[in-house]
Each structure stands twice: as C-alpha cells, then as structure tokens.
C-alpha cells in the first residue's frame, strides 16, 4: 500500500512549510516535496498606493531581510523618477546591504543551523536549539549573537530602526552619514573579524564529519545565477546578471537585471504557495537554477577584499568549476560574512559615503520601474507599474528564496531517498527526519519573502493509506 507522510512544520527555518514523503508499497521513498504554506499577496495589496510608499510597505514582505526589499523598492522608485541617485546615497545603501547580509547569515549559521552541527543531527530535539547550545558552547553562541547584533546595530544607526528601517526611498536616502556613526561601527570590527575567524576554523574542522550530508543534501549540477560587477567580481547592490552551469561555464553574461522578465520565468503549482522560477531558454522545469551565497561564490570570479579572496580561492577548489553541494551554502555564508565585514570597514574610509547630497529630487518620469539587488538569500527583483499620478497599478516581486524552490525540492527528495529507512514497524527515527529539514536549512529559506508570507515547520508525520485514511500520526516530542 502506498502512503504519504508529512513533516510539519519544518523548524529552525524562517517560514511555515512542510515536507511530504510519498512511500511506495515496499515502504521506499518514491517522491519527497517541499510545501510552503503562506501567502499575503503584496503584488496585489499595493494597488492604488503611491510608489513613494512602497519601500515602507514592501519592507513588510520580510522581517529578516527588510533592507533588501527597501533597496529593491527604492531602486525601482529611482527608475520611476528617472534619476541616478547621489553617490553618498548609493554608498549608504551598500553599507546597509552588507550589514544585512551579515546579520541574516549570522542568524542562519549560528542561531538556526549550528545546533545541528555542534550537538549533532540526532541530538534530542528538545535541546537542539540555540538555548540548548548555551550549556556547552556559551562562547560560540555569544559570538554568533553579537555578530548578528553588529549587523543589526549598523542598520539601526544608519537606518533609524533594526527591523523595517524607513531611511531609503525613491531618489536616495533621508539622512547623512556621520563620523559618530563611523566611530561606533569601527569599534565593532575587531571582534567581528575575530569571531568569524573562529567560526570559519571551527566549521572547516567539522565539515568532513558531514560527508553523507554533503553528498546527499542537494548535491547535483544546476545553473547558478547572481549579480556581478563589470569585471565579474562579487557585487550586491548594483551590477549585471551572470549565469553559470554546474561546471562553472558561463551560460549567459552581462544580462540587464531590469530586463529579468526576458530570461526568467515563473511557474505556478497547486502544492506550494511559492512559485517555481526557471531560466526561460532552458524551459520549465529543466531551467531550474540556484541563487544566494553558494551561487554568488560560484558565479563571481573574485571577491575584491583580501580575506574573502583567500577563502574564495580555497572554496572554489571544492568543486570542478562550480561547487554543487548545497551543504556548502553554510561555508559560503561564512565567507560572505567575512567579505561583508571587510567591505563595511572599507566603506568607513570612503569619502563618498560622507557626501552632503543624498537625495535626487524629481517627479514621476516613467510608468514602469525595476529594482534589483543581492539579498542575503539571492537575487531580488521588484517590478512596479504606476498610473500617471504615480499610484501603483501592479507589482511583480521575484524573490530570492523562490528561485531556490526547485533546488529545495530536489534536495529534500535526494535526502529522503538516502536517509529515510523505515524500521520493521514502519517508523522513522527522528534524526532521519531532521536530516530532511537540514537539507532545507542549507538554503536558509525565507518563506516570509518567498510567498510574500511567513512561518515555521513543525514535525508531524501523517501516514496516509492509499484510500486517504489516516493510519498513524507520528509527532516529534520534546
């Protein structure tokens, strides 16, 4: 008798989701899929509102990476105004984007995923969290908390608020950057640098003990897409799109992010509120691609800062042209944190950041605008259409996490086939199920973002018979 099991909700991710596992008559996995459960409808609810309001509204897409939404929204607004913003405003936006990548990656690595690594995938679930980790790893936890705090503090200092800062909008930003802000930020750099160095050494020492996870939690060739600068280096705020294949060969170069809709498409399926983006020339579903830290390090040819460049060089040796194991999203995140701290320090010495002109003043000059940037989880696009008065007619948001949707489905299926082995009584050990969730955690999916919604993943496995009746419910207890 075939049956479907659910892992619900998946926990220690940023969103409501579940995993379904279909088992054949022999109890073998025939298909495992990832389902995102939430939807809020930002593409519709913005209608009739002035485009100047969008950074504030669209920021609410996500409390984890609000700065990315503010930036993409502000940039779409810049295009509607038809302006190039002053350099000081652009540098402030860059600064906050690095701060946000730092805080968001710290959350993913330390708060959410490190319990799996430091306590073990099979540790008791009631303790397997950051509070449980405090008992034996207090220094490590404290360093992770403070790294996230540093990123959040930069956002608060410059943006006025840690979550949903309202400091940027169409045309620029609202306040000048000051030397007092610089002094506080510089004060954090040594500790952040030291903490990242400790975490990176620790992680490199641990990686090899996770060989099965590395090999079976999303290890497959795919396309990788990211923004790069004009020389092919890492770029997070403003650049061109580059796509490479699973061997690192460039498939497409110097694509204009404002024309994303000419090469990227989205498919809707009834089993998830997250859509399924694909690279149009390859079609759906063959054109699936990965974005985010792993993709950026595969796509970029160099980082542009000394420590990150050393690490990137070593990182690239882990693959043949491209690193295809999604497990290495974690390592990529650490390298991006190092890069972000280096860039933040570098920006403090950049006179452009302190410029007096921070806002370009103009009225509406276009009816359609696109803004994009690299969010912590990948490339983000906001596309707005307005009426002659500047009121929103429609929006399309192409979100980082959704672009990893197909990859997450493939990863959870691969992990299910490898790790799920039912006992004689048809039960699965909790640690096996946690590995399926860990496959998802590699991507650090932000489900608030990707469905323009939010949630968490509990773990209830429903065993459903071929006739649809509930045979058994397995709950993960504390």
């Amino acid at each position: 008798m075939s049956r479907i099991q659910f892992i619900e909700p998946v926990t220690r991710i940023e969103g409501h989701a579940k995993i379904s596992i279909q088992l054949d008559e022999q109890g073998q996995v025939s298909l495992a899929r990832f389902h995102v459960l939430e939807f809020r409808g930002f593409e519709k609810i913005c209608e009739g509102r002035p485009f100047q309001e969008m950074p504030g509204l669209m920021s609410r897409t996500c409390g984890i990476c609000p700065v990315s939404h503010v930036l993409a929204s502000s940039k779409a607004g810049d295009m509607l105004l038809g302006v190039e913003i002053p350099i000081a405003a652009a540098q402030q936006r860059r600064l906050l984007n690095y701060a946000q990548i730092l805080q968001s990656h710290a959350l993913s690595f330390f708060h959410l995923s490190s319990p799996d690594f430091l306590m073990g995938m099979d540790a008791p679930p009631a303790q397997r969290n950051i509070f449980g980790l405090l008992q034996n790893e207090a220094d490590f936890v404290r360093r992770g908390i403070r790294l996230r705090q540093f990123g959040q503090r930069v956002i608060e200092l410059v943006g006025g608020k840690k979550v949903h800062p309202g400091w940027s909008g169409p045309g620029g930003v609202h306040h000048r950057f000051t030397s007092e802000q610089r002094d506080e930020i510089l004060g954090w750099i040594p500790e952040a640098t030291e903490s990242l160095s400790i975490a990176l050494d620790r992680w490199k020492g641990l990686i090899d003990s996770f060989r099965p996870e590395m090999d079976f939690m999303g290890n497959f060739p795919s396309l990788f897409l990211a923004t790069v600068n004009e020389h092919g280096g890492l770029e997070y705020y403003d650049g061109l799109i580059r796509i490479v294949d699973g061997r690192g060969n460039a498939i497409a170069e110097k694509l204009d992010p404002k024309r994303y809709f000419t090469y990227l498409g989205e498919a809707s399926e009834d089993y998830s509120y997250v859509k399924f983006p694909y690279y149009q020339p390859f079609g759906y579903p063959q054109g699936h691609y990965r974005v985010g830290p792993l993709a950026r390090l595969n796509v970029a040819t160099y980082a542009g800062t000394p420590r990150a460049d050393r690490e990137l060089k070593e990182f690239k040796q882990r693959g043949e042209g491209a690193v295809c194991e999604s497990f290495h999203f974690h390592l990529a995140r650490l390298i991006e944190m190092i890069h972000s701290v280096e860039r933040i320090e570098e920006l403090m010495a950049n006179p452009d950041l302190y410029g007096e002109n921070i806002h370009a003043h103009a009225s509406l000059n276009r009816r359609e605008g696109v803004g994009s940037c690299e969010a912590p989880r990948g490339t983000l696009f906001h596309h707005y259409w307005v009426d002659p008065e500047g009121l929103m007619e429609r929006a399309n948001l192409l979100i980082a996490t959704s672009q990893n949707n197909q990859a997450m489905n493939l990863s959870v299926d691969q992990a299910a086939r490898r790790f799920l082995k039912a006992s004689a009584s048809g039960e699965f050990e909790e640690g096996m199920l946690n590995r399926l969730e860990a496959a998802i955690r590699c991507y650090d999916p932000c489900l608030s973002c990707s469905t323009h919604a939010l949630g968490q993943m509990p773990l209830v496995v429903d065993v459903i018979g071929a006739d649809g009746s509930l045979i058994r419910r397995i709950a993960r207890d504390s």
Binding site: P9, T11, R12, H16, R33, H35, V36, L37, E38, F39, R40, G41, E43, K44, I45, G56, L57, R60, T61, C62, G63, I64, P66, L107, P125, A126, R128, N129, I130, F131, L134, A138, V141, R142, I145, R146, R148, Q149, K161, K162, V163, H164, E266, A267, S268, D270, Y271, Y273, K275, Q280, Y284, N434, S448, A453, L454, G455, Q456, R476, D477, S478
Partner: protein
C-alpha cells in the same frame, strides 16, 4: 526540562517574522531570558507540538485555516496569550488584502504574474486554504495582552516580558505604531 521556571512560547501566524527578529534583537539578553524562563516552543526550536505554557507571544494575523486551528490550540494551552506586534493586534499589512476579493489577490500572483500555470494553491492536502478575510487574533480567541509595534522594539519586548514575569501588569513600555 526545568519545571521551576515559567514556560514561554513564541509562535507566528501570518506576518513577516519581523517581531521574532525583534525578539532575537534582545541579543545577549536572550541569555538572561533563558535564565528566567524555559523557552519551550518557538520557530527557532524543534519541538513540533504546542505545549502547555505560562506565556505565549503570538506574532501575525489569522490568514488561513491552519492559523485558525493553531491559535485555538495556543489559546487552550497558554495561560497568558499576548498579541505580539501590529499584525496580531490590528491585522496590519497582512490584512491589507481584505481590501480586495481573495480571488483577485490569488490571480495576480499565480496567473497574471506567472508564465506557466500548472495549478493554483487553493487549499489541499499539501497547503492550507486562505480565509476570505484576514482576522485579528482577538477576532478568534480572547487575548490577554496587546504588544503593538511594527515590530515592537527589543527593549519594549524585554520590559513587557520581565514585568509580566514579576507579576505586574505591563504598562508604559514604550509601544510604538507604524514605521
């Protein structure tokens, strides 16, 4: 499990997770908090079924049938239920879709903004069904305290929770709206 300490849970319904991020902005005070309470259920932990707790902080509005079941369960299990943040308190951004028919909101996302439509998630064995209108928590179950803000700041959250733990009625904790 420490039975001597009060038990605290945090949960999220339909929202952006910003209130939970603000909770994490307690930073090192999270460590202090872990000394005061047993954080026994949260999206950042792995317990999958909502347990009996003394205090539940619930972020987000009630937007689908899963939320509806979850908030009713939370109300049964929690001695003190706190509507945590503006979406929980007023519906806020999550409830903006109430200005439009649900069908139009779904069509925008899954038809008009899609190149290929194999199906539209309308509620099935895999995904919940959206409610025609988004509800505030107080529309569904009684709420003991309201903690507004988008999100409430970490200082606000800390003051609120510590006053509650000290047995005081939480007042004057600097709640802020909007922005």
């Amino acid at each position: 499990m420490d039975r001597l300490k009060p038990r605290l849970a945090t949960a999220w319904l339909g929202g952006c997770s910003g209130c939970h991020m603000s909770f994490l902005d307690l930073d090192e005070r999270l460590i202090d908090l872990a000394g005061l309470v047993d954080v026994c259920y949260s999206p950042i932990a792995d317990v999958k079924e909502f347990p009996e707790v003394d205090i539940a902080l619930v972020e987000g509005a009630v937007a689908n049938d899963h939320h509806l079941a979850e908030i009713r369960l939370i109300r049964r299990q929690a001695r003190i239920l706190i509507a945590f943040g503006d979406c929980a308190v007023t519906g806020n951004v999550t409830a903006l879709r109430n200005l439009f028919p649900l069908e139009d909101v779904l069509n925008r996302a899954y038809q008009e903004n899609s190149n290929i439509v194999n199906g539209i998630p309308l509620g099935n064995e895999f995904v919940p069904r959206l409610l025609p209108r988004v509800l505030r928590i107080q529309d569904v179950v009684p709420v003991d305290h309201f903690l507004p803000g988008c999100p409430p700041s970490a200082d606000t959250i800390f003051a609120f929770v510590t006053q509650l733990l000290a047995g005081h009625e939480p007042v004057g904790v600097g709640a802020r709206f909007g922005l």
